[in-house]
Amino acid sequence: MRQDKLIAAALMIVAFSAVSGLALITVFIFKSGLPLIIESGARGFFLSLDWDPKNGSFGILSMIVGSLAVTAGAMIIGTVFGLGLAIVLTQFCPREIAAILKPLIELLAGIPSVVYGFIGVVTIAPLIRTHLGGPGLSVLAASIVLGVMVLPTVTSISVDAIKAVPRSYWEGSIALGATEWQSTYMVLLKAARSGIVAAIILGMGRAVGETMAVIMVAGNTLEIPHGPLDAVRTLTSNIALEMGYASGKHRDALFATAVTLFIIIMILNTAALLIAKRGVRGGGR
């Protein structure tokens, strides 16, 4: 009995140190980054295009747009393929094949991001350059690479969400004369919607935060992209590209970039939590 309490206390300490670590990081980032945002003003920081840290201009609008563009592209690709895969795996695929396919897709999550970036640079970017034009390193290239990277997240969480729908829904739909596809599309996906949305938002979090692969394939220009074939710089790339050199104001500006990223990710996660909660309530009714 005494030992149980001891272990419970030890585990509690471990849990709290993890949380306080997170709190410490948050405080540190905001403490280092906020003063610069206040000094440059929200307009000068968030809404200016002029990033020239040597001369004291810190506008990150192009990077915010870049991050959002790349993430949106990645989510389109990730959702189409991830959700498609999830539907095939749960509905239209023999059980034996699904048992091989699912772990294979989950393996994608184990490949280091540098490898994805490298593949992007040596194969995807040249293909885009020769067949579609533009510099090759582009929103499109980054979206494809990130889309593949979020596949495992989107697929496996969607599979779980679809599998959690009671079998009787499906049977009822079939009994009413609906085809398999109609039952999948109109009953299963509707019932699993909140889980699927949560899967997409979690994948989005990964896409927004990814750095290495994006630095390699996005081109890192400082302009707002006009189309999917233009190069962009994302918030994460900006931090990673310049942190080695930054000192003084420049360093603060990179922390301010991190604050921006932090806020974007917080918004995404809160959205995910809210949607997941709504799903639970809906399911209980």
Binding site: I7, R129, T221, L222, A231, R233, L241, G244, Y245, S247
Partner: protein, 270 residues
């Protein structure tokens, strides 16, 4: 069950503590000479370190990239013995650090081998990189977009380029930004519209280094002060060096080390 778990946890703690102790002790005895900084100098320093360690088995030199300014910071924070820097020091930096020129390097302007342009003037270069010339036709090439490729803010190569070519003009915001000589090389190799700048010693045979103001970018022309886009490669130190770091430094400046640098495509320190 719970007893064995508690035992297991305590033995784990002990193991971790012992590991830290062992690492801490081992580390102090034979700390390698740390050389950190410019990705332009890095391959040459790596080569030097290899040769040096082959000749002196008891010595240990570790070379890391990261960029010129990162190298300076590493020296200032005592994370590195020697910093590598591929540009001249600023006045402020000169007060804090001492820089030793280990070699000089040309800054090559590189284009894809498929690009017919073989010669540009400094003015044309400035226009190409600032974005005021947008077609290769304007500088004697084929009609098509120009894609300037630059290095990230703070890179020694970028700062040398800005200083030597751009002057007061700014590099175009639309320029693609790559974070190492290797990445610039990879991009120019594949893109017929690209133009970039990189260390002359690293150009290799897959890219075309063009003449600037009519002068061929070669080591001889850098020595003779004919080729204007040249910059020093510095080893940066602060205060007195540890003896093992000093020995490596001496080796680099010795005729033997200088010969190695020359055979790798650099120009010996005058």
């Amino acid at each position: 069950m719970s007893k064995s778990l508690a035992e297991w946890i305590s033995s784990l703690c002990l193991t971790v503590a012992l590991c830290f102790l062992a690492l801490g002790c081992g580390g102090k005895h034979e700390r390698a000479v740390n050389v950190v900084g410019s990705t332009s100098v890095q391959p040459f320093a790596e080569f030097l370190a290899e040769e040096y360690m082959a000749a002196h088995a008891e010595e240990n030199v570790e070379v890391q990239g990261g960029g010129s300014t990162a190298g300076l910071q590493a020296v200032a924070n005592q994370l590195a013995d020697i910093g590598m820097c591929s540009r001249s020091l600023t006045e402020d930096e000169e007060k804090q650090f001492s820089g030793t020129t280990i070699a000089r390097d040309g800054l090559a302007i590189v284009v894809n081998p498929g690009n017919p342009v073989t010669e540009l003037t400094t003015d044309q270069l400035r226009a190409l990189f600032s974005g005021s010339i947008r077609s290769w036709k304007d500088v004697g090439g084929e009609d098509g977009p120009v894609r300037p490729i630059t290095r990230e803010e703070g890179s020694g190569t970028r700062e040398s380029f800005t200083h030597l070519v751009m002057g007061k003009e700014r590099i175009s915001r639309a320029a693609l930004t790559q974070e190492s000589n290797g990445a610039v090389k990879e991009l120019v190799k594949g893109d017929p519209a690209a133009i970039g700048y990189m260390s002359l010693g690293l150009v290799g045979s897959e890219l075309k280094a063009i003449k600037v103001d009519g002068v061929e970018p070669t080591g001889e022309n850098v020595i003779a002060d004919q080729y204007k886009l040249a910059r020093p490669f510095l080893f940066i130190t602060e205060g007195t060096l540890r003896p093992e770091a000093q020995r490596f430094m001496d080796y680099v400046l010795s005729p033997e080390g200088q010969r190695t640098l020359e055979s790798e495509g650099l120009v010996r320190a005058k």
